[in-house]
Each structure stands twice: as C-alpha cells, then as structure tokens.
Symmetry: C2
Subunit: 328 residues, 2 copies
C-alpha cells in the first residue's frame, strides 16, 4: 500500500460523523481531522483520537489535506463553501437540491479549474448511486421508463416541514413506497403512476401543550409541495415515544428501469438500497468518492465532476488489474 | 445530433441479431452491416435493409466503421478475433470466461494500443453490469460481503453440457436461485452459503431413441463442475414440448452487497436483472458500450478497457450537462 490519502472533514453533524466512521474502514485513507465552525474544544468526536480544528484554520492546511469532504447542508452551507473551498482543496460534497445542481456545478467548476483542483459534487445515494443507475438504465434500455421510489425511510426535509407547523413540539416523517406500485413496475408493464400512487407519508407528531390535534393534522396533510399530493397519516405520540422509537435514520429505495428490446421482450433492471443509517451510507459514498477525486487530480483531471464522470474502478482501493482478476 | 456513430457487427447468431435490433433503438448509431463467416447471401437478417458482408471484407472497411461489435463466442471466436480486429478497429466484445479475462485483456491491449484503437472487453451483464455492481458494492461497504445469484434463467453452458450426455437428443437447463438464500442475504445477516445452498438446477431433457432414462439422469446429476455440487432435477419431455415451452432465453440474477457501517448499522445494496431475452439484453449493453468506446477513442484513450474504466455518462447519448440537469 502506498502513502495513505489524507482526508479532511468540513462540518461535523450526522454526515461528518459518518465520514469519520467510514474512513476507519479504509486502510488507504487517513483522517487529518475535523474542521468545525463551532468551538473545537466543544466538539466530541466518535473516536477520541480524531483531531478537531477551527473551520478558519482550513486555509492554512492546504498542504496537509489531499481531499476535503464537505459535510454541510445543501441549503445554506454548500452553495457558499463548495466554490470557496474548491479553490483551495480537492473536494467532495453531497449537494442534493436537484434543481440547483447545474448552477452549483458551474459555481464549483470555475474556481476548481483555475486552481488545478478536482471537485466531485452531488455524491451520495440520491443524487449519487441512484443517479448512476438512472443513467445506465436509460442508456441500456432506450425504449423504457425509469421509476424511482424512496423509502421506507425517514425524510429529513419532510420531518423539518412537520416540525415547522404551529402546535407541533416534535415529530418525524417516513416516506413509504407503495408496494402495489412497485409490483406493477417490476412486472414490466410500464404503468403510468401519479405522485399519490407511488408513495404514502406517515407522520409521528408530538403536540405542543394546548395545541389542537385536528388543526395540526389538517395543517400537515394539506401542506402544498410536501403533503397535499400524498395520502398522509398523522399519528400523535408522546415525546418519550418519539425519542425512543424514532431516533434511528433508516432510508433506502429503488430505481427501476423497465424496457423492451427486440420484438418486445421485457427487461427489468432494479437497483435498491435498504439502509439502517442514511447518513452513514451517504458518508460511505463520500469517502469512496474522495479516493476517486484524489486519483482524478493525480491524472490532471481538474474542475467539477459528478458521479457520471467517474469510472467505477476509481472508487475502489484495488488496482485495475486486481479488479479485472477478482471482480469482473 | 451530430454525425451518427457507424457500427459493424462481426458474427451473426443470437447476440448479433440482438445488436442489430438494439441499434435501431439508438438514433445516434448507424448500422454499417453484418460481417459473417457464412456465405453472406445465406444469412437472413432481422431487418431486410441490413447489409451482409463476408467476414474477410472487414480489413478493407476500416474507414467505414467507427466501432466493431464482436458477437462471437468466448471459447473459440473471441480469443482469436478480438486481438486481431483490435489492430484494425475500435472494438467491443463480451468475452465471458472469467478466469481468462486478464490474459484476454493483455492480448487485446497490445495491438489496440499499437494501432491507436480503443477496445472494451468483457462487456454485457456478467461480466459487465454485475461486475460494476460488485466493484461499487465493495468500495462503498468495505466491511461487507458480496453475493451473486443467477437466474431464474436458461444457461447456455449447462444446456450444452446436458446435450453432450450420451442418450440425450435435446435439452435445456435452468439455473434457479434459492429464495431462502436470497432472503437471508437481503436481511443483512451476511450468511456463509455453500454452492448447493445458493442455486438449484432444473434440466428438461429429450431422450434419444432407446436411451436409458435412469442412466442419463445419473450421468447428468453426477457431472463434475456442472452439476455434482448442486441439487439437480431432470425432467424428461418430448421434442415437441422442448420446442414449444423452452425456446425462450430468459435470464437474470442478483448482485447483493451486505455490509455494516458505524457502530454496526446494516446496509444492503441490491442490483437485479429480470430478462425475458438474455442475448437481447447483452446486446443492448454492447451497443451502449460501442458509444462509450467511440468517445474514449476520440479523447485519445486507446488500448484495452473494461467496464470498470468507463464513466457511466459515456454510455448515454446525452451530454454531461444534459445528464446533470435531467438525471442527477
């Protein structure tokens, strides 16, 4: 094994913790430390030996870090941090606001290119592994339809939306894929499915003191964009139940490409994830992505990239010859 | 759309026919013709407008073909044809003798590199899409196990083995994945499975006149490598039943990576194919591979490649910007 690839973590929430844990599973990677905007001494890391530095120290550490993994949020952190840090480091981020990806790509590409750095944006599982499977599916079966289902899983965005409803003291939302819809898609019949037919939404809500349950339920199920187009159930629970039964972050889903070849033979490709920890899996993808980014940069491939631009073998610690002999 | 990519087909069996059909689904590809070692006039193509040429004419057609798709067999055709034709054309093949892949790669790499040509060997679904998923799975979940199941599907190699048994006038073999084994793998329990526990084999056999059924059955189920390590059932049928019920070529299977992250959270990745036509799906992969090979060659990436070396986006007719906007 050659010199380890030196990784930095920028931002230390669930995703940053997942990256810290994932690096420990990869012998060819070495964690330089966590960089946080909080007071470093206040941050308790998973592994006591992980150094914690101030975010503002990053600019002085460019020589010590081969790839920086950005673990901030897509709403406020990454739109600012990714372009800024791509001018200093090879970076990986998990920017997941699908509609804003082209703009984010452009914003990262220019500074990275100017600095001779390589960036991989929007890695993770969706965007990320699911996107890869949408591309392969469409390319292999041009006469076909692609279906993405999510869940069963805890949706951070929808949970946040529930918690913003007046009268809600706490809560979570699970996205549930419709089993009948999945079965129809798997059959190769290429059904047309409405939003309502694909997923249902289950909310578990703790009421604030004195809140009106019926009004809260109504405010949730009629919320535009988030719930109005779905069949949504709202179950009221206690704060203790919320803490005890809903602290885990499972997620997953399915990308199915159903198409026809030749005289109409049905061909179905399915990719699915069943994740006990959504942030830990996303983190695992980011860590393998950091390896790929390091290699791309060593080959002189600078600027912004997405998972579509990265050959599968670059994610693996094994050499191309090892992969051919062992996994082809 | 720019000038179409001009594709040649070398070899015209089930796979070549599948390639001919698949090209018709891709507007950016154009079929130059089929090249056969049979008498061209004797070959009836799927589409009446498809030109048929003699295999020996290939060397004179290097200026007319951007990528040649080799549709011969891995046993006798490709070991000879791929190195020879990689010196003249960009090529794609579906060489599937796993143990011989490193040697085949080396044999193709040298002439392709010397001639400035690009070759993609061992494309298809296994090797091919399944291999890609083995690489991603291992890279994303280093603490994990990979399981490949095949079927339910008609196995050409095992059907051939059945037909070589004295007393057999005809027959087919289906590989059946064990549902209990798949369920155990999907659960995340990471079981250790024997060969016998993973698959069973079902043979449908037409006896030659006067053949001894018991002896034929015994010869099949005890055949080393092919059947001895499996629970095999042999059902005797008539030649009519064979023709009527067993002419289709379904196949498929599953690649499952089951691993753990963080404090032991279970994460399961599954890729599965349900194919009504095995050769048509393999052909669809080869056709998308031809597009990728053309692009690699245009970028100056010459020599032998495998699917591990090719970025997913290169298989798609869409530009990188389109893919980012539409599928990421």
């Amino acid at each position: 094994m050659s010199t380890p690839i030196r990784i930095g973590i920028a931002g230390y929430g669930n995703l940053g913790r997942g990256v810290e844990a994932a690096i420990a599973h990869n012998d060819d990677l070495e964690l330089v430390g966590v960089f946080t905007r909080r007071e470093p001494a206040s941050v308790q890391t998973l592994r006591p030996e992980t150094p914690v530095f101030a975010h503002d120290d990053l600019a002085a550490r460019t020589a010590d870090i081969d790839v920086l993994i950005l673990c901030g949020g897509s709403k406020n952190d990454l739109p600012e941090q990714s372009p800024e840090l791509a001018a200093l480091f090879n970076i990986v981020d998990s920017f997941d606001t699908h509609a804003r990806i082209p703009a984010h790509f452009a914003a990262v590409d220019a500074p990275a290119r100017a600095a001779g750095k390589t960036a991989l944006i929007s890695s993770g599982w969706d965007p990320g592994m699911f996107s890869i499977n949408r591309v392969y599916g469409e390319a292999l079966l041009p006469d076909g339809d692609t279906y993405t289902f999510w869940g069963r899983g805890l949706s951070q965005g929808h949970s946040d939306a529930v918690r913003r409803v007046p009268g809600v003291a706490g809560g979570v939302q699970y996205t549930i894929p419709n089993e009948q819809a999945i079965a129809a898609v798997r059959s190769g019949s290429r059904p047309t499915l409405s939003t309502r037919e694909k997923h249902t939404r289950d909310c578990f809500v703790v009421l604030a003191e004195g809140a009106d349950a019926a009004a809260v339920r109504e405010a949730i199920v009629t919320m535009p964009d988030y719930f109005a187009d779905y069949d949504t159930t709202v179950t009221f629970i206690s704060a203790d139940e919320l803490a005890q039964d809903h602290a885990a972050m499972p997620h997953g889903g399915f990308v199915i490409r159903s198409g026809n070849t030749g005289e109409g033979n049905s061909q179905v490709i399915e990719y699915s994830l069943t994740l006990e920890s959504n942030p830990e899996f996303t983190a695992s993808v980011l860590v393998a992505s950091a390896r790929a980014v390091h290699r791309l940069n060593q080959r002189g491939q600078v600027g912004a990239h997405t998972v579509f631009d990265v050959a599968p073998g670059l994610f693996s610690p094994k050499s191309a010859a090892e992969l051919r002999a062992e996994l082809l």
